[in-house]
């Protein structure tokens, strides 16, 4: 069963056109910290996701925020989708698998200047290549594109 679709289903019922949003973007800021180190990824600022190395069993602290820099009408029914899973952050439109380590989704309206944030802490269970991704779903209806920030998490 899809958590994402469960959360989005109610919102989609009430979605309507929302014209007049400004030309600026939603901005996603993603930060991963562990062992006194940190790495940041900001949507739209890098072609390749940065990489962050973590030891097995080490706890990672993942924080993200999403800010609406548009000046027009509110962006309604935007889903913020966050997940960490095994795989390559550079993959086209990666999606969480059935054994994703963490996944969250929330539906929100973004008025101009509104900011939303979240965080979680978890130990990286075993060696492997993981990625964390924060993405909007539904922004394209108003802004013409979705917004995402991603980071590779390497556990040697």
């Amino acid at each position: 069963m899809s958590l994402l679709r469960s959360v989005r289903a109610a919102a989609l019922v009430s979605v309507g056109p929302c014209l007049g949003a400004g030309a600026n973007d939603l901005t996603i800021n993603l930060k991963v910290q562990s062992g006194g180190r940190e790495q940041t990824a900001i949507s739209g600022q890098s072609a390749a996701p940065p990489t962050f190395a973590v030891k097995t069993k080490e706890v990672v602290w993942v924080q993200w925020s999403v800010a609406n820099g548009t000046t027009g009408a509110p962006l309604s029914d935007i889903t913020l989708h966050v997940f960490i899973d095994r795989g390559d952050a550079r993959a086209a439109a990666p999606k969480p698998g059935p054994k994703t380590l963490y996944e969250s989704a929330l539906v929100q309206d973004f008025e101009a200047g509104v900011k939303s944030s979240g965080e979680f802490r978890m130990p990286m269970p075993e060696p492997g290549t993981y990625f964390v991704r924060v993405e909007t779903i539904g922004a394209a209806r108003k802004l013409g594109k979705e917004v995402a920030a991603a980071m590779q998490v390497s556990v040697p």
Binding site: R5, A11, L101, P125
Partner: protein, 158 residues
């Protein structure tokens, strides 16, 4: 997949009537397939009104938990509302007081403008490293109402 999601949503709808402000469905599943569910409770009183279900597993097992929270208010919003979830060791099964939130096995939170009928969902897989009794709890925060809602499950790790 949209149909599957819609089916899940419809399956959740009966739960919406169980809470006055927030509907919560919290599920925890052990590797052997055993699973427990908890629904919205409220605090005060400390510890809420409902007894907590107990999920049993072994140290080293991966517990999968998921919650979906729905703001059942149709017209009211709350700016900078929050949701927090965590797994923390507790002294005994069913204890009323929430233990100090130290040395958490897992934790997370959200801060956002809560809109009417909003849904928030999270699922996570957590390895339970040590035997003991733990509290898995998700709770609303700063909803600008007279009380907050939560759902909780005890984890007995052997």
């Amino acid at each position: 997949m949209r149909r599957a999601a819609l089916s899940l949503l419809l399956a959740l709808l009966p739960c919406a009537a169980r809470a006055e402000h927030f509907d919560i469905k919290l599920t925890a599943t052990a590797p052997d397939g055993s699973s427990k569910e908890a629904f919205a409770d409220e605090t005060p009183p400390i510890g809420g009104l409902n007894p907590r279900p107990v999920l049993r597993a072994k140290a080293g097992d991966t517990i999968a938990f998921q919650f979906i929270m729905t703001n059942v208010y149709e017209h009211e919003s709350a700016r900078n509302a929050g949701i927090r979830f965590y797994i923390v060791r507790e002294r005994q099964l069913g204890q009323k007081a929430v233990p100090p939130l130290e040395n958490l096995t897992a934790e997370g939170s959200f801060t956002f403008n809560l809109k009417p009928k909003a849904k928030i969902g999270t699922k996570e897989r957590v390895v339970m490293p040590q035997p003991g009794v733990y509290l898995l709890r998700v709770e609303s925060q700063r909803t600008q109402r007279e009380h907050e809602h939560f759902a909780a499950i005890d984890l007995e790790i052997q």
